[in-house]
């Protein structure tokens, strides 16, 4: 039942929008490519239209072969695509070897280039037909650096959300399963302000963060504080957060539908630093995330409130006894955590130019992996864990199909629990 909603169409990446002269499609974390070279014994065949569509007709994109015969289409997600060569656009010097081999069915995934070759001949003598293959490509230093950069980008954004999750866990002891939806909230609010209300993008992000933080305040006032007063058990709280996650996730779907929404009014340009090529919003997102994370670290380390927060994480009873207003600090933590998650969501939406109802859903798993790796309840651990998870997950796509990258995160999670359950920075007595 959710299938149709999940196969949302993701906005196309900038690089592949309109390229007829030199056909390029860079397969990265969020796009895949279907492409090939059209040639016969006389050489490359130019100006042939090839249409890639998927079975549900949710996606259709055409490409025209360039002077060197190459063509490529960026695809938004994993699906079985129908690749059809428009025979009427073939020049008179070329013909399909076997018309029955057109269209070609090709299973394509994100993060990889799938090659579809049509067998063209000079005359219409039948021979062997279309062949296709899927490769993740060879690992070159350039790709290594590129994936590393993507990993850092994802890790920094993940850290924004994970630090909040870790702070909530540290101060209240609760694993908040609705934290992923807070990320989604930030992304979707950015979409509302930027696209629906036509606000400038900076203002949109700010408004999204403020409203996200306000949602944290509202939650603490409306749900969590009353439950703390009633001395509701941690497991109950956890299930309440699951109910909240379910309700929010469906509310997003109710309001925004199942597809991925672009948050930038125009397609962003890319920019290369050495071998690394990222969209400009990605650089900005990384910069913002770094500044905010440093700010959070300074807040926790240098300010009275920050120290009080850490004191509660260490020992709530002792903190309360020494005059810290635990309830006030916890409310602040909720505001801070949801605000950070909202910022993470907004930046994620900018970097990928897409927001969808299930954006935070998958991120939640990586957040859990990150905070467990770093040490549950430690803010700095969450930061380190996020960076490691981000880099490992993105780099794994060099060798593994990108659909397995979340499985890599789970593998790390299980290994950490087996070898060092308290995580990198956690203390052993937390676990038992």
């Amino acid at each position: 039942m959710l299938a149709a909603a999940l196969v949302g169409v993701i906005g196309l990446q900038a690089e592949s929008a309109s390229a007829t002269a030199a056909v390029t499609c860079v397969a990265d974390a969020e796009t895949g490519c279907i492409g090939g070279t059209l040639q016969n014994t006389a050489g490359p065949v130019e100006g042939v239209t090839i249409t890639v569509s998927n079975e549900d007709d949710e996606f259709e994109e055409s490409a025209t072969t360039a002077a060197n015969g190459t063509w490529a289409v960026a695809i938004p997600g994993r699906a079985r695509y129908t690749v059809e060569l428009d025979e009427s656009t073939l020049p008179s010097t070329a013909a399909l070897a076997d018309s029955a081999e057109n269209p070609v069915e090709q299973l394509a995934v994100v993060g990889a280039s799938s090659t579809v070759d049509f067998n063209l001949v000079l005359d219409a003598t039948p021979s062997t037909g279309g062949s296709s293959s899927t490769t993740t490509g060879t690992v070159t230093p350039t790709r290594l650096l590129q994936q590393f950069a993507l990993g850092i980008r994802y890790g920094l954004i993940l850290a924004l959300a994970a630090v909040g999750l870790s702070l909530i866990y540290g101060t209240t002891g609760m694993s908040s399963f609705s934290h992923g939806e807070q990320v989604t909230l930030g992304a979707l609010l950015t979409f509302v302000f930027s696209i629906q209300l036509h606000w400038p993008i900076v203002l949109s992000v700010l408004a999204a963060v403020v409203l996200s933080a306000a949602s944290g305040w509202l939650q603490d006032v409306g749900i969590w504080q009353p439950l703390r007063r009633r001395r509701v058990g941690l497991v109950q709280l956890m299930i309440v957060s699951i109910g909240l996650s379910l309700a929010l996730q469906y509310a997003f779907q109710f309001r925004f539908g199942g597809s991925t929404l672009q948050v930038l009014p125009s397609i962003a340009k890319s920019w290369s630093i050495g071998p690394i090529r990222l969209s400009i919003p990605s650089y900005i997102a990384m910069g913002c995330a770094t500044i905010v994370l440093v700010g959070v670290a300074l807040f926790l380390q240098r300010t009275r409130t920050g120290r009080a927060t850490r004191a509660i994480s260490d020992n709530p009873a002792l903190a309360a006894a020494s005059g810290i207003d635990v309830d006030k600090i916890i409310r602040l933590v909720w505001i801070l955590a949801t605000g950070l998650a909202g910022l993470g969501g907004a930046l994620l939406a900018l970097a990928f130019n897409g927001a969808a109802w299930d954006l935070g859903l998958q991120m939640l798993l990586l957040m859990f992996a990150a905070v467990t790796l770093g040490g549950l309840g430690t803010a700095y651990g969450a930061l380190i864990g996020s960076l490691i998870i981000g880099v490992v997950v993105e780099m794994s796509t060099l060798w593994l199909p990108s659909s397995l990258k979340f499985a890599v995160a789970l593998l790390i999670l299980i290994l950490v629990l087996l070898i060092r359950p308290q995580g990198i920075l956690g203390r052993a007595e937390r676990v038992g």
Binding site: L6, A108, V109, L234, I239, V240, L246, F254, G432
Partner: protein, 327 residues
């Protein structure tokens, strides 16, 4: 509004194979959470693993008994893999690992990696794996009508599937009843109440927790087999929402009760169908058709929150029986 349609639609949910599959999965979760206090947040993952194991074996031409056994076996292995690193740790680690693992099974299932077996996001249609199961039917071909329930006998969504599914539910209830009044069951409840006390009596808490996880996981595995029988193995239909629906069912009926999961499942699906049908009739001007499913989901989420806050023991449960604190 057409009342007789509404009535037959909602009554149909009462004995639907889906209701039975959810009931069986909730019985499994009841062993985990209700009796042992384990926080399994990935019950749908156990079901999906079971369904894939079953469908893959049946697709390869094996008979139903062997295929179902392989499906359940896959769930058992899944339980072992998840239990070994987490059951010695605090309760929420199991929650984190199970929710992640279930999601990853779904992601791998819908990816192209194993598409020879899983057929990717499109899923495996039931016609590829339920022939042998339907061939085992003792019913004559044709249709049978009992009051509002009129179904074909030997199709995926027919009487035979319903009979087998509810028989499995009854067997599971019987098994839980015997087990929980046995010394083994009392140890489980002891673990739920006070792990350290049980440990001090010389019991291997880890071992008992693992047995409970495996038993409940195996039930979920067979529930997965039942769930896919009428339609298809569709990974996206067996994601987080399914797990949370199972939790809602369990908490609605009452955790740590014998019949709670079964009655909970019936109430849940009848109510869900009733609400959806009424909404479809009453609100066509306000709602787009594709908004119906999310609206029902919002209601389930809110129900779950309210249940846990105001009546954690559910309809039949005993509040004293509910261990609701992380150990």
């Amino acid at each position: 509004m057409n009342w007789s349609d509404l009535l037959s639609l909602t009554a149909g949910e009462l004995i639907a194979p889906t209701t039975a599959a959810y009931a069986l999965a909730a019985i499994g979760l009841n062993i985990h959470f209700g009796f042992t206090g384990l926080l399994n947040m990935g019950q749908a993952g156990f079901m999906l693993v079971g369904a894939y194991g079953f469908a893959a074996t049946a697709q390869a031409g094996q008979g139903f008994p062997l295929s179902a056994l392989v499906g359940v076996g896959c769930s058992v292995v899944f339980a072992l893999i998840l239990g070994i690193p987490t059951l010695k740790l605090r309760g929420d680690y199991l929650a984190i690992v199970t929710i992640s693992a279930a999601e990853i099974v779904r992601l791998i299932g819908r990816s192209s990696v194993l598409s020879d077996i899983t057929n990717g996001a499109a899923g495996i249609p039931a016609s590829r794996f339920n022939k042998d199961f339907l061939g085992l039917s003792v019913l004559p071909d044709g249709r049978t009508a009992l009051g509002p329930f009129a179904y074909a006998n030997n199709v995926g969504d027919g009487w035979w599937t319903r009979i087998v599914a509810w028989a499995a539910v009854l067997l599971a209830v019987l098994l839980v009843w015997r087990l929980m009044s046995s010394p083994w069951g009392r140890v489980l409840k002891g673990i739920r109440e006070d792990e350290d006390a049980v440990r001090s009596l010389g019991k291997s808490v880890y071992g008992y927790k693992m047995q409970a996880l495996v038993l409940g996981g195996a039930m979920a595995g067979f529930a997965g087999v039942l769930f896919v029988m009428p339609a298809s193995v569709q990974p996206d239909a067996m994601g987080r929402s399914m797990t949370f629906f199972i939790w809602t069912i369990l908490l609605l009926g009452g955790a740590a009760t014998l019949w709670g999961p079964v009655i909970g499942s019936m109430i849940f699906f009848v109510a869900l169908m009733f609400i959806k049908t009424v909404m479809r009739d009453v609100l066509p001007s306000v709602l787009r058709p594709e908004q119906l499913e999310p609206l029902a989901g919002i209601l389930v989420g809110i129900t779950l929150m309210l249940l846990v806050i105001f009546r954690p023991q559910g309809i039949f449960g005993d509040k004293k029986e509910l261990m609701l604190d992380v150990r």
